[in-house]
Structures are given as structure tokens and as C-alpha cells.
Symmetry: D2
Subunit: 241 residues, 4 copies
């Protein structure tokens, strides 16, 4: 069983009719719907709940946190970000979607600006699989095609991914590292590009499939947190002059 918490800013849905029409139960509602499965249990949380819906108790019960944010990254409280950071280092998986590249938690984990080029102009996007061995593209063909999406272009200011799985082609002439994995501490992280709020991207079967795979891949392994600090020798050390 993978216990997933889907977090969504949920502001565009409230302020923009167009978005509300596409995602009547919020982006988190749409994601919850396609993630739920016999082996996946899903809860949701949103920015405007107390503590953004993220308590220590909830995190303690979460195997993998899915994150969608955009216009209100700065409103997420630092103390909550620090809590999430600690849980990731302790093993909680994290799946960061689309504009979450600029979230406080992703930037804190990456150590870089996470900046990129962007354009809202109905670009066609074609995400090519460059690592066919990776479990997050299980069941995916050679590429995923999306009729219309926001463009994200290189240079994407991230550390070189531990694994680069998907690379996007955009109609307007750009490329982008769209499916990336990272390990930080005991936690596994996936960044997956698509999902601008004004497009029905999260109803795309292949996009859903990658996120379904990602939460399973990011589930923590069964092991204790390492011991740090002062350590007794395991072997005899010769006295030195």
C-alpha cells in the first residue's frame, strides 16, 4: 500500500472560471481520482486549510507527497516547508508537478534557482522517453504527445538529474528535461513537467500513467534512518606518536 497526499494550491480554480470548468473538484481532485487504486490510498490538502492542510501527523502517515503550486508559492509558510524537507530526508517520496518547479520545497531540495523559460501559446508538446528502463515510464510508448500545453524551455536551472527519463520537444522550438528523478537523504523525488491549469492535461491517459508510476517508484524503502554524529571505532586504531 502506498499512502499518497496530493497537495494543491487550489487558487486558480477559485479565481479563474476557465480553470474551474476544467477541474471542477480542483486539480487535487482530478489527481486523486486517477491515483486511487487497490494499492494506493489518496488524501488531499490545499493551501487555504489551516497549516495548508499539512500537519506533522499527516506527514508521518504519508509515503509520497504530490505537489502542485503556482501563483502562491510565497504564501507557503517556511515552517511547513521545513517540516516537509525533513520528512523527505527521512524517506518520504515527493512528486513535483509542473509549476511546482518554483515551489519553496523543490528549490530547497535542489539548491538552485529552478528557473526556466516559459510561454503560454498553445504549443504542441511531445515528451520523448530517453530511459526506457525506468519504472515511471512503464506502459508508455516512445513518446507522450500533448496537443496544447504551456512551454517550458531550457536552460532549466536544476542539478543534473540522477536519472533523466523524459525530454520534451515544443512546437515553438525549445526542448526541456521533463521527467527527472533525484535522491535526497532517504527520499526519492520525481519532477514531471506537464499540467498547466488552463489545459485538461491531467485527463491525458499517459500523463496519468506516469504519475501513477511515480508514486509507486517514490515510495520509501524499508530501512532505518542512518546514524550520524560521533562514532566509536569498529576496528582497533593504533596509537600514533
Amino acid at each position: 500500500m502506498v499512502k499518497v497526499l496530493v497537495w494543491n494550491e487550489n487558487r486558480h480554480e477559485k479565481q479563474n472560471e476557465e480553470v474551474a470548468k476544467i477541474y471542477p473538484e480542483g486539480i487535487h481532485g482530478a489527481i486523486k481520482q486517477f491515483l486511487e487504486a487497490d494499492d494506493v490510498e489518496v488524501n488531499t490538502a490545499t493551501l487555504d486549510e489551516p497549516d495548508h492542510g499539512i500537519t506533522e501527523e499527516k506527514l508521518a502517515e504519508t509515503d509520497v507527497l504530490v505537489w502542485w503550486g503556482h501563483m502562491a508559492h510565497h504564501e507557503v509558510k517556511d515552517e511547513i516547508v521545513n517540516k516537509i524537507h525533513e520528512h523527505v530526508l527521512n524517506g518520504m517520496g515527493l512528486v513535483v508537478l509542473h509549476s511546482g518547479h518554483f515551489s519553496k520545497i523543490f528549490k530547497k531540495l535542489m539548491g538552485t534557482s529552478c528557473d526556466l523559460k516559459w510561454r503560454e501559446a498553445d504549443d504542441k508538446e511531445r515528451m520523448w522517453v530517453v530511459d526506457p528502463t525506468h519504472p515511471i515510464v512503464d506502459g508508455i510508448g516512445e513518446f507522450i504527445e500533448i496537443d496544447k500545453e504551456e512551454m517550458y524551455g531550457e536552460h532549466f536551472d536544476i542539478p543534473a538529474p540522477d536519472e533523466l527519463v523524459l525530454v520534451s520537444w515544443f512546437e515553438g522550438g525549445e526542448v526541456f528535461r521533463s521527467g527527472c528523478t533525484y535522491r535526497r537523504g532517504n527520499g526519492r523525488i520525481v519532477y514531471f513537467r506537464p499540467g498547466h491549469e488552463t489545459y485538461p492535461t491531467y485527463y491525458h491517459k499517459d500523463v496519468q500513467k506516469v504519475i501513477q508510476n511515480a508514486v509507486r517508484w517514490a515510495k520509501p524503502v524499508g530501512r532505518e534512518y542512518p546514524t550520524y554524529g560521533n562514532a566509536k571505532p569498529l576496528e582497533k586504531i593504533e596509537p600514533k606518536s
Copy 2:
């Protein structure tokens, strides 16, 4: 020409006679001495100078910053750390030595706790070269042996290095990833383990050689900072329905 700024906390030297005897001109003084060369120009700065000796002007003239800190990481002002962070992302090289693993700037760039096991017990250390192609081990044999050093042991909570160059064997039974490189933004970073203040490690010829190589390797390449933000299409985008 590589313009290097060697930063040192310079507190142990003031408070501990034993350290002062080993490094009468400070650890920064010792490092400056072996770094200076026809193609390397070295300045130094220390914690107790105004702004820790690190101004915007100095950073603007610095190709590579070398960092040694230990007991007073928390005294380094966040605004100075942010300045350094920005310069690294803009291309300044950074060479982090020994206990600098816990410096604010290294933790900010790595995104992890950077924690580790440690022991002050006169362990013998033997650093093995695992990447013989790497310029930072140019001129180094199969390993570097140090008679007595502080032990640092795994798990070292860092992101998987972009390049792992040296792995240490310790007498007391531990191993450690001792020579690691990273890229963050436009900047190149080296972490190099040895250099506990109570040992004369920075007089060791091979240790010096690695740091001499590291500042040359971390020198920024000649290119402009990428453009980020809203981007006009480079190709025609078909109108979509």
C-alpha cells in the same frame, strides 16, 4: 589566470594554541601559500572581518572561492550566504574543505543535511582514486595516505555526486566519499574532505596538489548567464482550436 578567494573561519587558530602552532598564519594563510602560482592569484578573508571579508565587489572579482569553517557556521550571516549562493549560480567556482560540509553555503547548495559520522582519534586515512580521468587528481598516485586525521564516515548525507573522484578508507573501519564534484547553475563545486585543524594536513603535498587542481577545475567557463522567464517562440506555432 584564476582569481581565488580563500575564506577561513579563523577561530580555532585564535583559541587553541595547538592549532596556532600548526597554522601560525591561519589555515587560510597556509592554503594561500601553496595555491599562489603564475596562473593563480590568491586573496583571503575571515569570519571576523566586516561582512566576513566578503563584499559584492570581492565576489565579483573572484573566480573560485575556497571555504574552511567549523565551529562558527551559525555566525555566518544569511545575507552573505545568499550573496555567495547567487555568485555560484552565476558561475563562481566553490571548493569546500573538510568541516565546511556543514557550512550554510554547502547545505544550501546541496539541499540535504550534509550530516556524517565523525571521530577524533588519530585514524589513519587512505584516499583512493576511483576516477583516474579527473583533472583534480592529476599528478596523484593510486591513493593519498594521511598518517592521522579526523574520521568522517558514511552515510554522508549529500546528493549523489556528479563525479565521485576519491573514496577514503579509515583505520577504524569506515569509508567516505572524500572527493566529490557538483554543478549548480553555472558554477562548479568541489568537496574535498581532509583538513582537521589539529593536524598538519594542509602541508601534505598530495592534499595541496588536489586543492591546486580543484581551483583550476572550478574556474568558470566563458559564457553568459542563460536567459530565463517569458520567451517568444523561435518557430511558428499553429493556431489550435
Copy 3:
């Protein structure tokens, strides 16, 4: 279900009484015994069977091939090696154990000499986990300790692993990259160091656990082999002068 084929040279067992006493059913027999599980089906094959027990049909039914060889690498026929190579590129997992580092198939997949230092001198070995997120060390503590083993030392002439999971400390003063993963084509590869024939290493619970994890990790994902060769454009190409 993971379908595993354990291949063993099975020569030391026949020629050396000491080895035969430790592994009365051969090293392959010992490995088969601890790998069999509700979700793992195990077959075995050995060098002296016709075609070394490796037919096209058997490979077609194999998810993950486990390989132990040592004194007779050169007797493995090139045509069989080529067959295995093709199956790995098409998605079959491969777990290479101990002296298998010098097998034709591992060298062919790595492209390097795969050479190393070695010593049979009852070294104590301690394998440290350096990637605590990795599924192949699920259930493993901070290290695996083996009382007596053959020493393998750096430099190990392999490509930098895609993931470095375990690093060994040896009593005689060496270190070694002991748990490594690679992707080649559609196939996932694990190299795992321990298992010299004169020691009862494959009865060690932690060593067994890593191999049990490894065959599950190396299982192919569900996807078709990519299409290569001449490709029609997916978008309109402007005529150029």
C-alpha cells in the same frame, strides 16, 4: 512474478573439495534456494551443459539472469554471450556476482577492462550503504559485515555506475565500489561484489537479502522495444533552398 535464471560456472565445486563442502549443490543451488519465493521462480544452468544451459527459449522466458563465473570465463562461447547481450538490451535484467566482473558478458556491457586489485587473505569486509534510498538495500542496516572474504580493491575499471549503492572497507587497507547499478538498452544491471567460492558468503542473510532485492529491481518494465532506423517526420518540414 519474476522469472530468474541462475547461471553458475560450477567448476570449483567439482575440482575443489573445500568448495564442494561449502556448496554441496553448487553455488547456483545455494542461490536458487534463497531466491525462491512466492513471487520469484528460479531455474539454473551451468557451463558444462549443452550451450552452457542457455538457449534462446530459456532466455525468452527469463526476466533476470544471475551470473557467477571465475576460472572458465574464456570457455563461454561468444555466440552465447552475444545472445545474452541482445536479451539484456531488449530488457532482461542481469545480476553479476563477484568474479563475474571478468565475465565476457559484463565486459561487453561495460566497455572497459573491468580489472581490479584482489587478494585471498581472509580480509574482513564491511560494505557501507551510501545510497539509503535504493531498493536493493531495502531491509539492510548501515553496513553488511563479512568475517572473511577475498579482497577486491580500487581502481575498479568500470564506467561510473548509474547508481553507487555500497562501498566496501577491507581490513588490508582498500576500498571498493561493491554495489553498482547500470542501464544498458532496455535492461537493468546490478553488480554485487561478495561471494568468493571458498567462503560461505551466500549463506550470509544480508548478502542474500541484497540479491533477493536485486532480482526484483532488475525485472524489466512493461514496454516495447524502441523503434530505430529511418523515421518519417512527425511535423511538417519547411522546404529549404
Copy 4:
């Protein structure tokens, strides 16, 4: 001083007038011309010379070998390929251009099929810099644009590059990992995509700049080849029962 040997198949130039017009002194001649510099000495060799112009003596004097081949990969003798392979493992740099992806030496070093999609249809190509820290893109802007080139598309069946530096966008809808580095043994390898024989690509200033950078980057570091084989202990090993 970097001593470069540029190897070219030199068959298209002899058999195809169009190619001969573009490269009257052969592709090797064109490359030699833009590589020669105060710190770079260039020799050339071609397929139809005795031993393909590659003797042990020539290799012994070569720091970096540049390789262009296409229609006659199979005519390159295995013994010559093995010689080159050994020199790369011993430290010689290798820069593989365009259709050299299918050369015997590149496939031997990679361990994979090195297959890809291709199309000769005057695609526009735009190579984006994804690693702005890398010396091989020193002096290059955000991308390199080529009016007309052969398309190479993913999946490119190579091991995940040690460093991914350039990613191509193609007009017809594909992407490609166009600038990749690898380390094998003591040698440094660059794969750089552009250069189909029917286009004047090697007169493109940015393409020239990358290759000029690449030969400097791939130059061997100053160190001895590691020692392999049976090794005496460096520390005392306790007798075990």
C-alpha cells in the same frame, strides 16, 4: 600542447561529387584546419591508408583521436579497433562525431547498440545547452542553430551520459542527446552529433568551437595507469579461525 589525430573514412568524398564540393580536402581536412592552433597539433589518417593510417606509434603520440565514419564501419579491422580501445583505456581522449555513433570503437566502449532514429530531410536543428558549466560549451550561447542537417532522434541507445551537455530540437518533431561525455578507464570521451557529409556543417563557427573545446577537454591528465591484479595488504590482517 594537445596532439590530435583526426580520422576520417573519406569515402563519401571520393564517391559523391556533392560531398567532394563541400569538403574538397575531405572532412578530415576541414576539421584539421579549424583545430590547428598554438596549443593544438593536428595529424590526419583515413580508412584506405595501410592499417587505416593508425599504427601503434601514431597512437602512442596521440592525446586525442577524433573519429568520423559512416558507410564503411565494417571495413575497420578489429585489431585496429582493439588497439584504439586499449589506448582509450590508457588515457587517450576520443571525440566521436555524427555517424561515428555506429563505429566499432564507439559501440565497443558503450556496450550498447548505439542505434537511433534518422532522416535526411533538411530538418532545421537547434542544439540547446543544458549544462552551462561545461568546458565544451565555453563561448557558446544558449543554443546552436543549424539550418539544415540530418535528423537523429531518440531513443538513442547509449548508456546514460556521465555529463549531458547539449540536447537537439529537430523541425520534424524529435529530440536528441547531442553532446555527451563519458569516462572509460583513464580516457575521456565526447560524442557530438552534427556533421552529415552532404551539409557544410563543419564550417559552422559554433560547431567548430565545440570540437575545439572537446579536444582540449579530452586531453589525458598526468597520471600513471593504475596497478591491477594480486595486491599485498597495506595493513595487518588478523589471522582468522
